[in-house]
């Protein structure tokens, strides 16, 4: 199994609802306790987030486009964060989810150094590493209606830019969404084989501008009005 997300960069509007939903669900996480903020109401509010959205401009005018890129753990097939972890706190489950066991983590941040995507952040209250769990405490919960057994970010997305599923199943939501539209993996050279896939933003059709009107002098206007101009 290779559970992961498919994120459509064409439909994502960069509203941060996925990050807020993530923060809300994991704020009362069954996995590792609250997801803390620091100086939340102060001048320099900051906090631990498992999903961050960055905004880019792609191409140059008039073929430019804003591309919003939400980034969380990619649940890499060959996850360097798991390889380097000295305590065994970071591990990869048979279903593909990469998790941190907070009871074993010593907070050395070495896994965050090994992650090329900045997907891991330290919980500065508990001193342990936090990361996207793919809402492992939701997706298998049989008390929830089946439609709700999805990561909080996927459920929250107002433009359905996010899908969740098993990439090994060709009929899953993610496999169908990614078919023919997925971008090459980010930082492919590193060879970590990220499971999450990003779908390419489509190029908007160019809007044809009206050609500029030819320059006319006042005399031309008068001639045109009088019916004597070349153009009339």
């Amino acid at each position: 199994m290779r559970l992961g997300l498919a994120i459509d960069l064409d439909t994502c509007v960069g509203c941060h609802a996925c990050a807020v939903a993530c923060k809300e669900w994991n704020g009362e996480s069954l996995m590792a306790g609250p997801l803390p903020d620091y100086d939340a109401y102060g001048k320099e509010a900051t906090g631990t987030w498992l999903n961050r959205i960055r905004h880019y401009e792609c191409g140059t005018y008039p073929e430019n486009k804003t591309v919003n890129v939400p980034m969380s753990c990619m649940h890499c097939e060959d996850a360097a964060c798991v390889t380097v972890c000295p305590t065994g706190a970071s591990y990869k489950r048979p279903d593909g989810i990469v998790l941190v066991d907070a009871d074993k983590c010593m907070g050395c941040s070495y896994c965050a150094w090994a992650c090329p995507y900045g997907a891991r952040e330290l919980d500065q209250d508990e001193g342990t590493m936090r990361k996207c769990t793919l809402c492992v405490d939701r997706i298998y919960d049989e008390r929830l209606p089946e439609a709700d057994r999805q990561p909080a970010c996927v459920l929250a997305c107002p433009t359905h830019a996010r899908a969740f599923g098993d990439y090994d199943d060709p009929d899953s939501d993610v496999s169908r969404a990614a078919k023919g539209r997925s971008l090459p993996p980010m930082l492919e050279k590193l060879g970590y084989k990220p499971v999450n896939q990003y779908l390419a933003p489509r190029q908007a059709p160019e809007i044809k501008m009206q050609p500029p009107r030819p320059k006319k002098s006042l005399a031309d206007y008068i001639r045109d009005w009088a019916g004597a101009g070349k153009g009339s």
């Binding site: 961050r52 890129v69 706190a89 010593m106 900045g118 930082l187 933003p201």
Partner: protein
């Protein structure tokens, strides 16, 4: 990368301690008259003291040190784990070696312990270097010269730490030639590293990080209003002038000054201790630079065009 003093002091102090232990064991095996029994024990004690001080300092880097004991549990994959295991294995060997020195049990047992001690000390230093060198996300660390540099600088600084002890205890000649040879080796490795990474490279580019096609990509907004864990950890910025000054300081304090003082033949424990302290200060600057100049790929997502 943010230079963390706990880790900087750890690698410099432990490096010197481990280098001192390795040099002690090798000198006892190959040139025992330089290190008579009365000198060997204080050298062993100093080596263990420096190593232990460094290891203790490293725990200040941990956000949750109560789980530090678990760090030996992933020997098969993690260099940090390997470092912990080898460092743990070094202590009983060093204590047994100390017992052979103290009780005057020479011969095979001391020789075996000595070989083992020197090998373990070198392996621990190598593992420390590999902790950094195995990270493909940080091109300046992901290089074969990094672990070699950790071993070379450890052996060099360890030898300098040994000189005042030898001068004070045995009163005989100090192994200046050995110190100068190791100085040359360490300088060659570090010099080569500075030459290779002298100018910024483009190992990974923004186009690798965001493969959106052939178009130009430009950051509009990072999405956060204030600092984050990522900006704290990975976005340390070093002015080019500051980097040049620090490289100069490393060269002078760690290499040129010790070279000059040793070649003019300073002797006596206080002068030799000054030489060692100068080198330590230079190596602290070297380790600080090692962190401050390193660039992580996450910078590409925050608008940096290339890292390397």
């Amino acid at each position: 990368m943010r230079p963390a003093w706990s880790v900087i002091f750890f690698t410099v102090s432990s490096g010197a301690g481990l280098g001192l232990l390795a040099i002690l064991a090798l000198l006892r095996l190959l040139a025992a008259r330089v290190v008579p029994d009365g000198t060997a024990l204080p050298m062993l004690a100093l080596g263990l003291l420096l190593t232990t001080a460094g290891l203790c300092s490293s725990t200040f880097h941990l956000a949750n040190p109560k789980n530090a004991w678990r760090s030996a549990s992933r020997f098969k994959t993690s260099w940090l784990s390997r470092e912990a295991v080898f460092a743990g294995a070094l202590y009983p060997v060093a204590l047994l070696y100390g017992w052979t020195l103290w009780s005057g049990t020479g011969g095979a047992l001391q020789a075996i312990c000595g070989v083992l001690l020197a090998a373990l000390a070198v392996v621990v230093m190598y593992s420390t270097g590999m902790i950094y060198a195995c990270l493909k996300t940080i091109p300046r660390w992901n290089h074969g010269l990094v672990p070699v540099g950790y071993v070379a600088l450890g052996l060099y600084s360890g030898t300098l730490a040994a000189l005042p002890v030898i001068a004070a205890k045995s009163g005989g000649p100090v192994p200046v030639a050995l110190a100068l040879a190791l100085l040359a080796a360490a300088l060659a490795v570090k010099g080569a590293y500075f030459v290779i990474f002298g100018a910024p490279k483009a190992v990974h580019t923004m186009a690798d990080a965001l493969p959106l096609g052939k178009k130009e990509i430009r950051l509009l907004d990072t999405g956060h209003t204030h600092r984050t864990f990522l900006t704290d950890e990975f976005f340390f910025r070093l002015a080019r002038r500051q980097a040049r000054f620090l490289r100069f300081a490393v060269l002078v304090l760690a290499f040129v000054l010790p070279l000059a003082l040793l070649t003019v033949g300073v002797s006596g424990p206080p002068a030799l201790a000054f030489v060692a302290l100068s080198a330590f200060t230079g190596l602290l600057a070297e380790r600080w630079l090692f962190f401050a100049e390193a660039e992580h790929t996450v910078r590409l997502y925050h608008g940096q065009r290339a890292v390397g």
